[in-house]
């Protein structure tokens, strides 16, 4: 394992450019939780000509629907959900300034093209390591779509959140690069 890079969220263009497919990172700062249901609401807001509940410029969205918090804790278990379910909505959010996404799983060609055009990075974190990941989340506050329950749009404060760059802003894909040396079929 290579050294883990410390990065800060929201992301600057320079920070995004410095990240390469396969890099292990620790993210500290503010990120937003949203899954496909919240994405659909955001797209509907844009369709109506409304502003989004959050200015996405430079922001990072984490695809997560946490389990309920126990008393005294900011959040329950909070691992990544499948990013591909957000693919249909993603390019429009990238056009609005979103700079990073955290989830698990492959992305569509349309998303990767939009990432290259807009200079965006896609991170993955370990699916099913939700209790481990939740330790790095210090605050969780719903900012919109509270009726969606665990699928609401929420602001999260994270410290040393562990992630891996799966697709960088040049479109290099670590799923492809990482698998190739071990494919023996």
């Amino acid at each position: 394992m290579a050294q883990q890079k410390q990065i800060t969220a929201p992301l600057t263009d320079e920070a995004v450019k410095s990240l390469k497919a396969g890099d292990s990172v620790l993210i500290t700062g503010v990120i937003y939780a949203a899954r496909d249901a919240a994405h659909q609401r955001m797209i509907e807001a844009l369709d109506r000509g409304e502003e989004l509940p959050v200015d996405l410029t430079g922001q990072v969205i984490y695809y997560v629907g946490p389990s309920p918090a126990k008393p005294g804790e900011p959040i329950g278990s909070a691992g990544p959900t499948t990013a591909g379910r957000c693919d249909a909505y993603t390019p429009r959010l990238l056009d609005k300034g979103l700079k990073g996404m955290i989830g698990k799983g492959y992305r569509s060609d349309a998303v990767v093209d939009s990432m290259k055009k807009n200079g965006v990075v896609y991170f993955v974190t370990v699916g099913g390591a939700a209790a481990l990941i939740s330790r790095t989340i210090k605050a969780y506050d719903v900012v919109a779509y509270g009726d969606l329950g665990p699928e609401a749009l929420a602001r999260m404060e994270v410290v040393d959140f562990p992630a891996i760059v799966a697709i960088d802003c040049e479109g290099r894909n670590y799923y492809e690069e990482g698998q190739k040396p071990y494919r023996k079929l």
Partner: protein
């Protein structure tokens, strides 16, 4: 005839829902440790390490291993000399699921209707319940929470007899390659072969709850399990799909007699936690 109260079933199911989501079973933990030892990719080794650490944190802090605490799939072996008093079996199970998911701080992931409205039921009911009648006066209940990441990548195909072993291998492998990183590898693969369409799907689910250390009793199916595991681990998918040789921890096959013209094959994928807990009342 032995009497078991609906209340006792409800209490037992609530505990199973919590236990299955908080505590990784020993056979799965051991398989992950073994997978980590064999894994050649440094990143893959690190990912399995995070998965093992996560299991310890979940256990020590009494919280779910994964935020997707699934739909509750419940297998019941109902002794025909057992009498349930104070409610029906399914009502008692659903009351237990609601109790466990609420009291255990588990995520409620069930929607009441799948296509038009998709409103959350609020208590993770209804459970998916499979009841089998057996001899005796006991009730054995196994609860396996099933998340969508792995369930969504499962598949079923109605092969024809001429497709044979090669056809089965190809369908299983195609399903796993198509699933890629989404079902949270290292995965456990349940395969159901034979019966009718719905029987094959049921068998594939049932295969997932067999201990990972146990092979099919039929030597040819046991060999097919080993062959498929080897093939799947040559795909390169690896832990979390980021590359490696530990794509699956085990392949479990269940089979059943079928029609002279049929060869149904179902592939049900489980994530690396392969959650389940059981109790006998």
């Amino acid at each position: 005839m032995r009497t078991i109260t609906a209340q006792a079933i409800t209490e037992a199911v609530a505990k199973l829902a919590i236990d299955a989501n908080y505590y990784l079973s020993e056979d799965v933990y051991n398989a992950l440790v073994e997978g980590q030892e064999k894994e050649e990719s440094p990143l893959g080794k690190n990912i399995i390490d995070q998965i093992l650490q996560n299991a310890c944190i979940a256990r020590d802090e009494a919280k779910p291993m994964c935020q997707d605490t699934g739909l509750a799939v419940v297998f019941v072996e109902l002794g025909q000399d057992a009498h349930i008093e104070g409610g029906t079996l399914e009502e008692a199970i659903n009351a237990g699921v609601a109790k466990g998911y609420i009291e255990g701080y588990l995520r409620k992931s069930a929607v009441a209707e799948p296509l038009f409205n998709r409103k959350n039921t609020g208590d993770n009911t209804p459970a998916i319940v499979h009841i089998q009648s057996v001899a005796g006066d006991q009730i054995k209940i196994l609860l396996a929470p099933k998340g969508a990441g792995s369930e969504n990548k499962s598949g079923l195909k109605m092969l024809v007899p001429a497709d044979g072993v090669a056809g089965v291998k190809k369908f299983v492998l195609d399903t796993i390659i198509n699933a890629g990183s989404n079902p949270c590898p290292p995965i456990v693969v349940g395969v159901g072969i034979g019966g009718t369409m719905e029987k094959a799907a049921y068998l594939a689910k049932k295969a997932l709850i067999r201990p990972l250390t146990e092979r099919n009793a039929h030597p040819e199916y046991a060999k097919l399990e080993a062959d498929l595991l080897e093939l799947i681990n040559k795909t390169g998918i690896g832990p979390q799909g980021l590359g490696g040789c530990t794509t699956a921890l085990a392949v479990n096959i269940e089979w059943f007699p079928t029609h002279i013209a049929s060869l149904p094959v179902a592939v049900n994928i489980n994530c690396h936690a392969t959650r389940h807990a059981e109790v006998t009342l």
